[in-house]
């Protein structure tokens, strides 16, 4: 989980990987079809050391379902990326806005810090007073 820019970049990389995965699925898992009456589907003989088949066909319905799922995933990923992009920090700020904001924050910080110091001093003082009182209880 990185910053938002890295998230977008990771998402883009994932999308690219999904492209590859989708093409691979289509390439490997489709069924063989005859295009004309003379075509014959070549089936390697079952006996002996038959070379592995080029395609590892899925039933038509499963293949269709796979295609749908992959396409849906692709679109979801793309939507995710767009969402992430619109979530990028400070889209509506220009560089000057940022600088102004940072400067203001710097001054506010200084003020807040001095206030804090003051409060701390006050606290130490009151603590000392309280301490004195508590000590004096024992003595009379």
């Amino acid at each position: 989980m990185g910053d938002r820019l890295t998230q977008v970049q990771d998402a883009v990389d994932q999308l690219a990987q999904q492209f590859v995965a989708a093409l691979y699925f289509v390439q490997r898992r489709h069924d063989l079809e005859t295009l004309g009456p003379k075509d014959k589907i070549f089936t390697p003989k079952q006996d002996g050391q038959a070379p592995p088949s080029e395609v590892d066909s899925l039933p038509v319905d499963d293949f269709r379902a796979g295609l749908t799922e992959l396409s849906r995933d692709l679109i979801t990923k793309e939507q995710q990326i767009e969402y992430l992009i619109s979530m990028l920090p400070g889209l509506q700020n220009s560089e000057q806005d940022q600088e102004r904001a940072i400067k203001e924050l710097e001054e506010d910080l200084k003020a807040a810090e001095s206030q804090r110091r003051e409060a701390l001093k006050e606290r130490d003082q009151i603590l000392a007073e309280l301490d004195q009182v508590i000590r004096s209880i024992r003595r009379p």
């Binding site: 820019l5 970049q9 793309e78 400070g90 509506q92 206030q115 409060a119």
Partner: protein, 288 residues
């Protein structure tokens, strides 16, 4: 045994050879040189690197900036631009106000798409709109919000999806045309990553502001908490103060009556006990 020693000693690489140059003797010598330089040039500040330094002391000062703006760290190449000190409004001068005054800055520059041999598709990023722009317009450019940038990115991502669809179509009709489409996708991906990297400085500034805001809130919360505690302690003190005084008075009156010594002592003890009880009751009430 010897093998073991070998393997333990090679777990980490040896330190660079010049560490042995940092002897007390050499350090003293370079200090001397610095002093004499300062005396010889009273008007100038002593630079980080003294000119005309003896060969044996050369490693005691940092090396010169790369002349051609290229250097390597951990095997990766970096390019820098040696820029003149920046104008006071620039963002880095806010964070390092001192660094800009004397030191020339090494500026890490993103390699542009054109330099990387990639077609540049998007041109909306403020920093990319025409390097031939006049200085006056460069000021205006920093005023531009980044909404266009996001729009451009979205366009690129949409094109990515469309191009993949086209690739799938192309492959089903004529697989030989596939590589051309893949090249298109590649260009798109490069462009997206480049655009995102261009956005990084912006995000960095934004995060800095966010961190500062957080720190500010925390400081303020702390201050309020301290104040409320102080207020409470003060109330306790006031409660105690209003209680002890009448007790003291009573005790003084009892002593002044000057009756039998034993009786006085007895009364005093009773008074003390009562006073203690009152005190604790008041303390409990104040802390409750």
């Amino acid at each position: 045994m010897a093998d073991q020693e070998q393997s333990t000693s090679s777990t980490f690489p040896n330190p660079p050879p010049f560490w042995q140059d940092f002897t007390p003797d050499n350090l003293n010598r370079i200090e001397q040189l610095r002093k004499s330089f300062a005396e010889a040039n009273p008007t100038r500040d002593v630079p980080t690197r003294l000119p005309d330094i003896p060969e044996s002391l050369i490693n005691l000062q940092p090396p010169a900036e790369p002349k051609d703006g290229r250097f390597r760290i951990f095997g990766e190449h970096f390019t820098v631009r040696i820029s003149p000190p920046k104008d006071p409004m620039s963002s880095s001068s806010l964070i390092y106000p001192r660094a800009n005054q004397k030191v020339q800055q090494l500026e890490n520059k993103l390699v542009t798409l054109e330099e990387g041999g990639i077609t540049n598709l998007a041109r909306t990023h403020p920093s990319r709109q025409g390097d031939n722009a006049t200085p006056s317009s460069s000021l205006n450019r920093r005023d531009v919000p980044h909404t266009d940038h996001a729009l451009e990115l979205k366009r690129l991502v949409k094109s990515l999806l469309l191009n993949f669809l086209e690739l799938a179509g192309t492959l089903s009709i004529n697989p030989n045309d596939g590589p051309a489409k893949v090249a298109d996708l590649e260009i798109l991906l490069f462009n997206i990553h480049h655009a995102l990297n261009e956005y990084r400085p912006h995000q960095a500034r934004e995060s800095a502001a966010e961190l500062m805001q957080e720190h500010l809130d925390r400081t303020r919360r702390e201050t309020t908490a301290i104040r409320s505690q102080v207020e409470k302690a003060r109330r306790v003190l006031e409660g105690l103060g209003s209680l002890t005084i009448p007790a003291e008075a009573e005790r003084g009156a009892a002593a002044a009556a000057g009756e039998d010594a034993a009786q006085v002592a007895e009364e005093l003890r009773a008074l003390d006990r009562r006073r203690d009880a009152e005190l604790w009751a008041a303390t409990d009430a104040a802390f409750a």
